[in-house]
Amino acid sequence: MLTRLLYLSAIWFALSLLVTLAVGSRLRRGDFTLSMIWLAAIIFIGDIFALFTFGKFLEIFGLSWLAFAFGLFWIIRLHNWNAAGQVTWTMTLLTTGLFIIYTFMLTAFSPLNPISFIFALIFFFLEVITLLLALAHMHESLDVICRLQWQRLLYILDPVPDYEPMVSLHVPAYNEPVEIVERTLDSLARLNYPNYEVLVMDNNTPLEETWRPLEEMCRRLGPRFHCLHLDKWPGYKSGALNFAVTQTDPRAEIIGIIDADYEVDPDFLKELAPAFANSQVAFVQTPQDYSYTKKGIFSESTYRGYKYFFEVSMPSRNERNAIIFAGTMGLIRKSVLEEIGGWDEWCITEDAEASLRILKRGYQSLYIHRSFGSGLMPFDFEGLKKQRFRWCFGGIQLLKKHWEALMPWAHWVDPANKLTLAQRYYYLVGGLGWFSDVFNLLFALFLVLGAIFSVFSSPIQIRPLTNTILIIPAVFLLLHILRFLWVLRNRLKISLGMAIATMYNFFSLGWAVTLACIQGLIQQEGVFLRTPKSKTASRVWHAIHVTQWETTIGLICMLAGLLAFTTNPDGRTFSLCALLFWQGSLYVAAPVFSLLSLGGEAAITPRITDQGKPVLEQRAARWVVVISMLLIAAFSLLKILPSPAELPEYARFLPIDISIQQLLNQSESQSTDLPTATITVTSANCRSKPRGGAEKVTVFYNGQQLEILGKNADLNNPWWYVKIPDSSENCWLWGMTATTTGNLEEIPIIE
């Protein structure tokens, strides 16, 4: 029953999502009746399909009512979304929930040896976390595209008469190329606002000839501009910014952070300062935009990748007053910054960390969805990789420091914590989201090991590879990829090709993010990634060299998949091969982008802040190597332990699998196909009678196909009476160990 319900729900999910991808962004009307009709329509279409194929009337009827009631709940709750979004969200939740139950049942009741069971359990927990993170992404996507009304999103603020508070703009600089800072300061000198000062805080730049010109620049630009060189200063950028607060004009009410490579629009302060007329507003953030000097797929996809956060995540978070302060191109109230104790000098993403402490105090934040300036992007893949490592590392630090404040019981522990449920959710998901790439690598590792053991004709038995376990995750994966491309296309207004490039640009950084997650958990203080140095002067070789780990992992995945399929070509190894090629492509994208980033030299190359002590990529990667070795050792151990010799009693609770023929067209299979059983477990005992303890006649192995001659009467615990190949004898095969095809209705019941 569970399997059939899962398939029915998956049909609703696929149907509703595909329609949302087609028309979800165009449906601008919201109506309760329309939503109800759409919900009923999706359920009805799915039901009709199920009724004519695999479904059973009572089960379909029951689940349909449950889905309808669940859908009504979400329609009422998400009244700001259109019908397509509401129904898709309902069906995503329902299918995810049913799939989790299905995988738990499969894990719990499969006949496995103890080590296999432990692996299956770990795999189950990983699966659950990944599915929950996928749910969070789905919610965010639907929230920004299917939303009918924005409550807090602003493109422009109304001016407040006679309100022009003094603003102190802090420009942190470390070893910056002079021409880059000059352009930034010139743009600040042109600001169309009467009441501001600019503090250029150069920290720890080793050479005097690098920072002295900044002093000259400030003198040239007039009395608003002040320059300060801080020597041997602790706390990196945050340390310098904290000291800048002490040097800020006492009349200043607002502080703005401008990175040294940003050109700012003249109306930046004039447009944003009115937000602070509301004393509850503590900080305002605008999108960080970029100008890129090099054209090409790398630059453009990187640019789009940056935009994603400000086009998708920030608007969604802003609706719940849960945005992050992203530093540059943001303004913060000085008194609030002093109240929270300044910037955290431990956390390397001090801006985001400060915003959490501010929101904890119950202040308001505001996101203005209009770009007021542009900075420079990393000009090559190495720079991008280091930057992503830093962001992720900071995200994990934030989670380490504040996890308790994000828990459901946070209010009881600290009554002063005024974070709302939505704020806690967004900050928690924002931090945990980084771990997706760690899980992705672990899945790739599991798949590679599965392929290797398959090549040696001893497939790993973690849990039965049922049709359902092959089909449903593939459907999930495909639909979530389509959803991601849909969001990219809709929000960033880009072609499908560029959306695919942007998606791969994201995934190509998965390795750097994985390393950052691990380092973030084990390192006490901030570190930065040091990529391997190549010994030759060749830029092409260097580009490949800095992505050697990604290339190796990607190629291993692809080779393992190819080997598994060519050695033992069947449906199962084909699925494994396809999955490994997909996983491999995510890692192989890294050297591809690294090579693409070589297209010509950038006019000006921005610097990526190396904050903290260096961590060599080779060293950071040791953890992954150790985990891989441990997994291989455990998998080998798993092979030593035998699978259960008898069919255990608990196995009767396993969900019954459905064949692909049944799933697609029951009537067709009834008329044409011979009933056949295909073994899905490593080995299955065939017995003299249809019960677990009966005498063993023979053993069948994974992939073997057997003709079904009869069946037992118990529909909930099916046994198939099969013909032993190359023999005149028959025996009883337990239904849970095989999938079936053909017409099973007409085969006789044998008592």
Partner: protein, 209 residues
């Protein structure tokens, strides 16, 4: 209670203040100079000396000293900021020496040691925070959650240890927040233990059949 100043120092401070008001800077300087040597821990003495100091460098040093002796001395704080700004206009270089909860001590390019007010609430750095009495109980909880994922049997043992630790902590005098944490630890450990029963059963069945 602030230490009572010797009569001689009080007299000198009064003289210095009056002389400043009468714009007799030399006399004021001499009086405050003597006061700072007799009572080097008196912020007012340093402040008055800064008001009549013959050079901007000495003024800065005296203000810096006055502020470090009394971080709540608002006049000293205000004038110190102006003096630092003046110095930085000439030479925008400051090297870090050390910091406290309320001030930075920095060295200028000319070698002056200057104390600069922080003007913000002190927040204890993350790494310096006391792990607290609940740390061992948290450790046991993390272990029991890990054990739950690894088949549950370990959690059957570790979750009760967590609960025992939490119960033991209840007898201590804890802050309100810690008391709530103890209850949460207790509840999670009970939930973990309950979840571990069926999971470990599923594992044990596989071991013993």
């Amino acid at each position: 209670m602030p230490e009572k100043l010797p009569v001689e120092v009080s007299q000198l401070l009064e003289d210095a203040e009056q002389s400043i008001q009468q714009d007799k800077r030399e006399i004021a300087y001499q009086s405050s100079l003597k006061a700072t040597s007799l009572a080097p821990h008196e912020p007012l003495a340093w402040y008055l000396r800064s008001q009549s100091a013959p050079s901007s460098e000495e003024q800065l040093i005296c203000l810096s000293r006055a502020y470090s002796l009394d971080p709540d001395f608002q006049d000293a704080k205000k004038e110190l900021r102006a003096a630092v700004q003046g110095l930085l206009k000439q030479e925008p270089f400051l090297a870090y020496v050390y910091e406290t909860e309320v001030l930075y001590q920095v060295r200028s390019n000319l070698g002056f040691l200057i104390n600069i007010p922080k003007n913000r609430v002190f927040e204890k750095p993350y790494l310096q925070k006391d792990p607290g009495p609940l740390q061992p109980a948290y450790g046991w909880l993390y272990l029991s959650l890990l054990a739950l994922m690894l088949g549950g049997v370990g959690a059957l043992v570790l979750a009760p240890i967590t609960a025992f630790q939490a119960l033991r902590l209840q007898s201590l005098s804890l802050s309100r927040s810690d008391q709530v944490r103890v209850w949460i630890l207790l509840i999670i450990s009970v939930i973990t233990w309950l979840a571990a029963i069926p999971i470990s059963l599923l594992l044990l069945i596989r071991i013993f059949t």
